[in-house]
Structure formats: C-alpha cells, structure tokens
Symmetry: C5
Subunit: 88 residues, 5 copies
C-alpha cells in the first residue's frame, strides 16, 4: 500500500456506469514525512476522506475488495484515513 | 487511476482478433495541472473520448471490467471523460 | 519480491473493516547492500517483523495468498524475515 | 498497453515446459515518435512480429488472454503490429 | 518478462510456510547487453538457475503459473535460463 495526501477531487459526467456515485479523489503518494513520491494518483474513496487527509491507498486487484468497489473498474482505492505514522 | 490527455490514435491490421473494432487512443498521463508524468500509454476507449480530451485511465485487471473490454487482452482503458479537476 | 527494511508503523482508526487487527508496517525497499531503492511502501505483516528488521515483501494479488490476508484489501505483505543475503 | 519496437530475440533451452514453442522477442517501449521509454521488455509474440516491427504490448494478467498464451507463465505479449500512430 | 542476472541468494527462517523449500535468488534486471536496469529483484527459482546465470523473470500473477509456485505467495519467478539474446 502507499501513504498519500488527498489534494483534490475529480468529476466526470461521461463515464462508465459503474463509476456513478463513487467519489474520486486526486492524491499524491508521499513518504513517512510527507515528501511527494508520486503525484496525481486518482483513487476511489471508501472511508469518507477529504482534501488534506493523509490516507492509505491500495492498488491493483485489491482495489476491488472493499464492498463499495467490488466489480467496479477501479485500480486504486482509499482504505484508511491514517492517524499516525511512527518512524521507529 | 490516472488522469491523462488523449494525444493521438493507434491503428493496426495484424492484431489479436479480440481487438477488432476497439478504438485505441494514445495518451499522456498528466497531473492535476496537465504536466506530463508518463508519456505514450495506449488505452482502449469505452466512453467516446477524442484527441485532446482529459480522461481517466484505469489499468491492470480492472481494464477488463467495462462491458466493452471483458475478456479482451487490454491492460489500460479510458473509463471517463473528466469534466473538472478541483485542486482543493 | 523485494528486500525491504522496516522503518516504522502506520495506524488508522477510520479504515476498511477487513484491515482491523492487521499490523501495517512502513518499509523501504532496499538492494542487497541495504541501499534504499523505493521508500515508504506500507506492507501488512504476517510473520511478526519489527522495526529495523530486513524482510521480504510480496506485492500484487500474491499479497492475499497468506492465510492472514486472504480476501483483505492489501497489495503488499511481508512474508519472511530475511536471515541472510549472500551476494555470490 | 505500450507501443514498442522489436529489437531482438531471446532463446532458452532450460525453461518452463509451457514456454516451449513460444517466440520471445526483446522490445523497447517507445513513445509515439519512437523515443525509447523503457528498454528490454521481453514479450511473447502472438501475431508474427519480426525484428524492427512497431508493435503493441499488453502486460499483466491480460497477457494470458490471447489463445496462444492462455495458462502460460508470461506477463507481456505482443497483440498487434502497429500500422500507424496518428499524433492528432 | 525481463532479462536478469542472478547476483545472490536470500535465506530466511521465519517465513510463510508456503515458501519452505523454495530457492529465492537475488537478481538484477538487465538489458540485452547486460546493463542493470533494476537492481535487487528477488525471484523464486523453478529451473535450477545459479549465481551468474542470465535468466528470464516473469512477474505478477503469472509468477504462480509454474507448477512449483502455484498458490505460493510469490510475485516474481525465474522461468528460463537464457541461452542467447540476439540483437537483430
């Protein structure tokens, strides 16, 4: 999984029917200190994350395991709002 | 998923039979402000996108969840034409 | 698979129900001599690894083959604590 | 998918039995103008591509959807010989 | 698939039970002339490759198609010992 910071939202009218009602958030993948590693990953939200939140993104086929995205054509999903990253 | 800009089209005669009739668009993956992050991804179109459109690309096994690409050997599909990217 | 060094822990309250009880460790992917190749990969632990340990990370759908992560939305899992890397 | 240029061939005697009879081509992933983006991807050929041809490569689980590679341990397959890339 | 050079071995005692008995080799992904493209990929061996051998690595779900790794949590497997790379 990746740590990420939500930076914005993506809206679309002409889209696959299965994306209707799904919130798409623009995220930057970051390291434990917040440095951007990979910008502009679009992830479907399943935990009510908002812009500015630090989140956990899962990618690939795992992105369709949460109930909300089962069978939906997504490859990146937010599965947690991160409380704390403890750099041991 | 990734934001992308459609930059061209790809045509082929000698191809897997399951690709027949599928529109293949050349895209650059971009960030929220349009900066190119990854050039030249070829994606199958499922929403009628044209050259110049800002789109959403899904990759991996998710690319075969839209009805049009089920069972088709593709790993990247355009699933939406983006109306708006709001950088919160 | 990748060699990695565990660098910290990630905790979250608001999360997919299937992540409850799973230990999420922050890791840096390293080469055989410990040089960091890819920072900040979050992996679910299945072998009791702690901060500082050198581990083996598997990614993609393989991450859901260990019993502990079957059906869980994870894309990276620690499957071994490395004893020794022998550079032949 | 990716655009690629076939640059050579790969031969092996000691190999997984399911690779027997499969042509393995060495390819460079290129952009729409032929600039190399990723060198040295080995792809199984399913359309009779030769060295120098511009081709379409599909990767991941999609690589096992063509009849010739179903169930075969490959993660990259050539599914088309590209006639034309039109940069709109 | 990728061309790779085996550079070492990885051993672990505390590991997923399904990894027991599997040889894990440390490899550098290389181009057709041997230049390192991606260091330190750990791959399960299924063809008796040794340190120094030039091999073919398959990644992702394909890594679990060889009989030896079916159902095993691996994402990279050596499926061939390369005899020859012919740069056309």
């Amino acid at each position: 999984m990746k740590l990420a910071r939500v930076t914005g939202t993506v809206t679309a009218t002409a889209k696959d029917a299965q994306l209707v009602g799904l919130t798409l958030l623009l995220c930057d993948v970051v390291d434990g200190k917040g440095k951007v590693l990979e910008p502009a990953v679009v992830a479907a939200d399943t935990v009510g994350a908002g812009v500015g939140a630090q989140v956990l993104i899962v990618t690939g086929s795992a992105a369709r395991l949460p109930a909300r995205t089962t069978g939906v054509p997504v490859d990146a999903v937010i599965t947690a709002i991160v409380d704390h990253v403890d750099l041991g």
